[in-house]
Symmetry: C2
Subunit: 262 residues, 2 copies
Amino acid sequence: MSSVNTDGGSRGSGRIPLNAATAVDKACPHNVNISCASCRLNELCLPIALSKAEIHQLDEIVQRNRPYKKGDHLYRQSDEFKSVYAVRSGSFKSYVLGTSGQSRVTGFFLPGEIMGMDGIASKDYANSTVALEHASICEIPFFQLEKLSHQLPNLQHHFFAIMGNEIAKDQQIHTLLSSYTAEERTASFLLGLSSRSSRVSLSPTRFLLPMTRSDIGEYLGLTVETVSRIFTALQRKGLIKVRNREVDLLEIDTLRAIVTTN
Amino acid sequence: MSSVNTDGGSRGSGRIPLNAATAVDKACPHNVNISCASCRLNELCLPIALSKAEIHQLDEIVQRNRPYKKGDHLYRQSDEFKSVYAVRSGSFKSYVLGTSGQSRVTGFFLPGEIMGMDGIASKDYANSTVALEHASICEIPFFQLEKLSHQLPNLQHHFFAIMGNEIAKDQQIHTLLSSYTAEERTASFLLGLSSRSSRVSLSPTRFLLPMTRSDIGEYLGLTVETVSRIFTALQRKGLIKVRNREVDLLEIDTLRAIVTTN
DNA sequence: CGTAGTGTTGAATTGAATCAAGTGTCGTGG
DNA sequence: CCACGACACTTGATTCAATTCAACACTACG
């Protein structure tokens, strides 16, 4: 068990304050007037390893647009590529549409993470990206980022690292999808969310899912029904507690064991 | 039907000359003494969009090592990352080992393609990479590539594009693994090999598979048996002809239809 | 308060895995 | 050059994990 507040957790009702992405900051997390230098995400996002002066230069090209509300699209499949985006608050999903209309989720994005890198090679975005809740972003026009990277070796290095990280991560998902069972996928997904959540919020064991069961299924290559069943099964085993979008990882080590047993 | 030579194809025996990677060049394809400027792969590999002088600079940092033979490792999982590699001739696969010893293939690499990008973010390679046949490579020490990229905006741009391409490709595989049937995966795999083969060899409809059925299965998230069955099924439908490692795509448009029907 | 979207649960079905038993192919050394 | 052994591949019978189909419950929002 962990040391998070356990007040009334078993009543299973009421509005317990959660460390969800949208409730992290004291101040409004969607605030547009924050520079890279003062942004609490700057360790995750681009500015890491840059000097004060360099951060200022980056700050100049970053555009902080109006907030997005649930369902708003950042860009759509085959829109012309022009920028990458850092999540400032809230969350997004990216997806592609099959020929017969079904959607397949290709990624979820939490604060500090970079979206739109799939468009760098071609002139167009390869997927659509949409806000899962009220959210805000930093837009980084790519051709300006390239120009600046050319002046700042640290920035070039860091962006290579960000892209390399995306590649490594995508290959882990390849392994997951090609050899894990439904339970292993789901456990791995929850653990992944846990560590990503904990980087921007408080507890690695307690968080809100910004996406639907259906989104999770489309991401993991499972049906909604299966995701739902696995959630109840894990709950019955006492490993997690789920109530709607609220998740509590009760036995995080046992969850890890499920994934590693593969 | 296509226009490739159909001499005795139905006899199903004998050494029919094929446009496999190892049989493409008149000269020895593993020849170490070729500069980037004169390399026939330079459109696929790094030098694209570089000036003559720039290519010369790149040439300086590229190391052309001795050839690799089947089963030789280029690097192993958790080796220290130091270089990316371009395939010059032959082919490679990358894979990871599960806790219980099973291997999962994460990628195949044909001439002109870049290996090792999964190591850029961390200090270590995330997978092992091994030659599938006699093969040769160009080693590009990454820290030198970064330094040079900083001097040559074209090179920086091109390497961003290569990595972006890898990201986009990995996400297509994500979709494939999460929603395609065994037949769709296999058809898509053959079509992918077809277009990649045709970039370095002659025919998009006739090529040799450098990997085993088992490799294909581990890559596509299927068992060997399933891959084998799908091959025979596609053959029975008259869409392909397979004899051992030799593949002939007889009805490439129907194959495309299988994939797109998804 | 009603309705659309989201989530759960059960029963039947099925696509691919598993288990099993072969045959085919290739490289090696006698 | 042939025989041997290891590995690669194929095919069939059976099993099983996850999907599909179906019905219903919950929740959140206008």
